[in-house]
């Protein structure tokens, strides 16, 4: 299984030339700051971005292209083969329907199970995501669940139809750390058991370090660096990745000044001609302002979009 996509937008280019692939059982992290395009990427895959923008390029899903696919056909894939969970477990469940009803609704839409079988499957799903006394809780409304439990319910609904790819948009950002750890564990466990690919969007590099196999770092609508998590986080090659890593206060003398990348991210309607990061970059060379560096392979499995990437040694020092 392979998902690859290329895309270019025009009017307000939220994303430019984003390409990556996820294979079965793989967890890919998409990191970046707000406005970097990580959520838009996710929404483009599943067709949610269609309503408010132009998506061009290709999203190859099991041999078919999702971008050119008519809405009707896409419906068949949404939820059944590709599922999505959102940041706000509070607002992504319908407050007026019981959790059981919402679960069965999904099953009704995507499976041929009978009414009784759907109910059994709903209980099974709630058990699977670790909700105690699942049978009784089917009758409960979303507000009767805590934040962490609600996110579990969301996961149960998303996975009810045993999708092959899970898109997770900041699934733990609204949760406390101890609950976050539980939910991430759950997602990883289920991905492994169901042999499912996961794209995890987050702004937290720690979450990436602890859960993902591969990571793509996004800046101003482009992927600037991608590769295996260990490699990217331990030896970042793109100056932006280095800056991002350094602004997290870890292993620093206390109460000293924190590193922060100078300047501000460019607004999407005023992107510089060359590399979008060039105006803030200390390692900027002449060609950076002229041309946009392509995302190119530098070592095995490692891609960086930079004319003057940080060397391994410098990366270590950061």
């Amino acid at each position: 299984m392979c998902t690859t996509f290329h895309r270019t937008g025009q009017a307000l280019p939220a994303l430019r030339d984003v390409s990556f692939s996820v294979s079965q059982g793989e967890v890919l992290g998409l990191v970046g700051e707000s406005g970097s395009g990580k959520s838009v990427t996710l929404r483009s895959i599943i067709g949610l971005a269609r309503r408010y923008g132009n998506v061009t390029g290709q999203v190859r899903w099991q041999g078919r292209d999702l971008v050119g696919m008519p809405d009707r056909a896409l419906r068949q894939i949404q939820g059944r083969e590709i599922a999505m969970i959102f940041q706000e477990p509070m607002t992504s469940l319908n407050p007026l329907l019981t959790v059981g009803l919402q679960l069965e609704e999904t099953l009704h839409a995507h499976t041929d199970l009978s009414k009784v079988a759907r109910r059994d499957r709903a209980i099974e799903m709630l058990n699977l995501v670790g909700i105690p006394s699942a049978k009784q809780r089917l009758k409960d409304y979303p507000h009767q669940f805590s934040g962490g439990m609600r996110q579990r319910v969301m996961i149960a609904i998303a996975l009810a139809a045993t999708p092959k790819l899970l898109l997770a948009d900041e699934p733990t950002t609204a949760l406390d750390v101890t609950i976050q750890a539980q939910i991430l564990d759950l997602i990883l466990q289920l991905a492994q058991d169901m042999d499912m690919g996961v794209v995890l969007v987050t702004h937290d590099l720690g979450v990436v370090a602890q859960t993902c196999d591969n990571v793509a770092v996004m800046y101003a609508g482009r992927i600037v660096e991608q590769g295996p998590v260990r490699g990217v986080l331990k030896h970042p090659r793109h100056p932006y990745t280095v800056g991002l890593m350094r602004s997290v206060p870890e292993n620093l003398p206390p109460r000293t000044s924190l590193y922060s990348v100078p300047g501000v991210p460019p607004s999407l309607d005023a992107l510089p001609r060359g590399c979008a990061f060039a105006p803030r970059c200390a390692a900027c060379v002449a060609s950076c302002e002229q041309d946009r560096p392509p995302l190119s392979l530098i070592t095995e499995g490692r891609q960086v979009a930079c004319f003057n990437p940080v060397t391994n040694e410098q990366g270590n020092a950061a």
């Binding site: 406005g35 100078p262 501000v264 991210p265 607004s267 309607d269």
Partner: protein, 283 residues
């Protein structure tokens, strides 16, 4: 060092307003209505009270676009002069309720407590009682006439404004700028009137616009029933009442003031809708 992404140019309030056709139409209608109300003599072709026995109940014509009434008075001129009374209604019938309602609503919403409980009971009492019956009852006690009608409406209507304002203030209290004001040691008066009120008042203003249309309708109804403006004063309700016995032979007598009510009402509604959009804080 700064972390801004400034949007290049912010359109001004006027620029945004002019892009809304509904708002512009409402503004034109109400603007023109105000002109008619302030300078009826300039726009009315005849004296509204000039009796012409040679032209009784004439249908619309070039000389009399809205026709003439049973005493030969020019209907157009009477409808135009009625603007003075009906627009005055829209203002005086609402403004006292607006001001009292906003102040009481803001205070009750800010302090809550026992005052809020009492207020809640008043709201229940007023809202469950049919409004028109209540106003008619007050007018019946005080006697017919415009001033008594204003008093009757205001006595009841402030409750609706106060209820709306209270809800808005409570919602605004959920924003930290109110808490920040308390922490800064600002006086309650400053927090209520300088911080909460300007942010809470938008829906009230929008409601006020609709309310002015409603009050014109109510005033005309009372005029029609003989409880509001008194003949020979030109007022739309009075004019409609005068024509009601001739509806099959002289339809224009009731229809023309009716259209004036509809158009003015529409103007206020469009204005209210447009303001609701424009006054919403951005960002």
């Amino acid at each position: 060092m700064s972390d801004a992404i400034f949007t290049p140019t912010q359109p001004t309030f006027m620029q945004r307003a002019l892009r809304k056709p509904g708002f512009v139409a409402g503004l034109l209608i109400i603007g023109f209505s105000i002109m008619l109300a302030v300078f009826p003599g300039v726009f009315a072709p005849y004296d509204p009270n000039a009796i012409d026995y040679l032209a009784l109940r004439q249908p619309p014509s070039w000389a009399h676009p809205f026709g003439t009434d049973l005493l030969g008075r020019d209907s157009l001129s009477r409808v135009i002069w009625a603007y003075q009374v009906n627009m005055q209604m829209a203002v005086f019938g609402t403004v006292f309720a607006l001001v009292t309602g906003v102040i009481i609503g803001a205070l009750v919403g800010y302090y809550r407590g026992i005052a809020d409980l009492i207020f809640g009971r008043i709201v229940d009492a007023v809202i469950t009682f049919p409004f028109l019956v209540l106003v008619i009852a007050v007018v019946a006690v005080l006697g017919p006439g415009l001033v008594n009608m204003y008093i009757a409406i205001s006595v009841v209507y402030w409750v609706y404004y106060a209820r709306l304002m209270r809800g808005e203030v409570i919602a605004q209290m959920g924003n930290d700028y109110a808490a920040a004001g308390i922490v800064m040691g600002y006086s309650d008066r400053r927090i209520i009137f300088r911080h909460l009120l300007p942010n809470a008042i938008t829906p009230v203003i929008v409601y006020w616009m609709t309310d002015m249309a409603l009050v014109i309708l109510l005033g005309s109804s009372l005029g029609y029933l003989g409880l509001g403006a008194q003949p020979p004063q030109s007022e739309w309700g009075v004019l409609i009442a005068e024509g009601r016995n001739f509806i099959s032979t002289a339809w224009w007598l009731s229809l023309m003031p009716g259209i004036a009510i509809v158009v003015t009402g529409l103007g206020f509604s469009l204005l209210g809708d447009g303001l609701a959009d424009l006054l919403r804080p951005r960002g």
